[in-house]
Symmetry: C2
Subunit: 269 residues, 2 copies
């Protein structure tokens, strides 16, 4: 039993889809969330830049007495985690490995699609993680750089989003995949648009949610769950204006953010 | 006569629409361009963040022996320039004042529209600059947060862009404006989409181009034009990956970027 909070971070708001799942399956856990809204998006940055940002994000979370860190960001998990995993004495988990496992468990025809930011697709970590578990899987990646701005601006179900999504997904449909990883934690907000295009026979893997479930398994195995009966508490930190965070963040969490949101200077970490 | 280069900066690629005009009207001037691609977009940031970034951008350009600086960015000109204009001994010019003058010169019915990023519209500097010159003008501002990502991802003439643009511009049309400021230097790449929606009776003001012309007037008046007969030379600096800059930048400049592009660590300035 361990009452310390779990640290979760993302380039912005997307990681809240992971927090939503934590609230659901581990309602007694305390969470400290950092959204790097001052430097979002990560998906268009170079790997050097992403690694630098992720190190700072981890250093900030470690100023609290936390028991584990979830990188609830497809880009940071793909483009940084493999290079920095050994640097921390606190357990750091990403979204790629859990999503790869969930996809391999779900697929019947071993044809799996991966949607992600430019950097996520470029560094191919979903592909290599799936291949490690299921060497004969065929994997098709597609960078969807417009999805993050569309979600962050509330275009979760508009005709413009459908047009852009069809462009991204047309080749995915042609490949005959039966499982599709939403490899960026923003994309679950486009689940209905993506699901409509792909059809009901394609299983969508929500990378934020499966990362939360993997964190549960890890904490359970190591006897680190809080096991308290009190509801968990949540603290939110951002690196830019706190104004929009509560409104937009509530959309991601699917419940109102009533807690105060604090701004920090991430470059100082 | 002054052979020193002109410094130009933007949050990313948009400022190249200003450089394009410099190449046209001052072909003998040398230019040093900085695109803060590692921290783009500025338009969603808080004013404190934008001011911090702009101070660093100016400090970087001043490491060269330059004769003037153009902030070729609607957001930085609106949300930072008024607060930092007196800090530099080198002349610093933005896009807001020239665009306001051009709009007042162009309008017949004194009904002027302004399109810009969230921060640009919020700080209202186009409005106050127009009011200073033409107190009885009626001005209608509209934040268009999707335009920068659409342009940076090459959606300059797609159906999705037309749908989003119509949403942004419908209320502008209802207001009966005859002049529309493209208050972000990315927006000239959407000129044909915006022009089609607004109709040929609405004059579009290209803020990057008018800023270049205002810089010409300033340099001419102060006797600071190079007056050489040799073609100007161009140096490009960015704060993230140099890979995509030449390709995308050529689209903005409407000519190939053959010069090498250098990456700098802007946070060190």
């Amino acid at each position: 039993m361990d009452k310390r909070p779990i640290g979760v971070f993302d380039s912005g708001l997307g990681g809240l889809t992971c927090v939503r799942e934590i609230m659901k399956i581990m309602p007694n856990e305390d969470v400290i969330y950092f959204g790097d809204t001052g430097r979002v998006p990560y998906g268009t940055r170079s790997r050097d830049t992403i690694i630098k940002y992720v190190r700072q994000d981890i250093r900030f979370l470690k100023t609290f007495d936390i028991k584990a860190i979830i990188i609830a960001c497809g880009t940071a998990s793909s483009a940084a985690l493999p290079w920095i995993a050994d640097e921390s004495d606190t357990k750091v988990m990403g979204v790629v490995e859990p999503a790869a496992r969930a996809a391999v468990a779900a697929t019947k025809n071993k044809r799996i699609g991966v949607l992600g930011t430019g950097a996520t697709i470029k560094y191919g970590k979903y592909v290599s993680n799936i291949k490690d578990i299921c060497p004969d899987a065929e994997i098709f990646g597609k960078a969807c750089p417009m999805f993050v701005p569309l979600v962050e601006n509330g275009y979760t179900d508009s005709e413009a989003t459908r047009i852009i999504a069809r462009e991204y997904l047309d080749e995915m449909k042609e490949k005959g995949i039966d499982t599709l990883i939403l490899g960026c934690t923003h994309y679950p907000l486009l689940k209905s648009v993506i699901g409509d295009i792909m059809g009901k026979d394609v299983t969508l893997i929500d990378s934020g949610a499966v990362a939360a479930r993997a964190a549960y398994d890890f904490l359970n195995e190591k006897n680190l769950l809080s096991e308290g009966s009190e509801d968990g508490t949540y603290r939110y930190f951002v690196s830019d204006s706190v104004e929009d965070f509560s409104t937009l963040g509530s959309m991601f969490l699917d419940r109102p953010i009533k807690e105060s949101v604090e701004k920090i200077e991430i470059e100082g970490f």
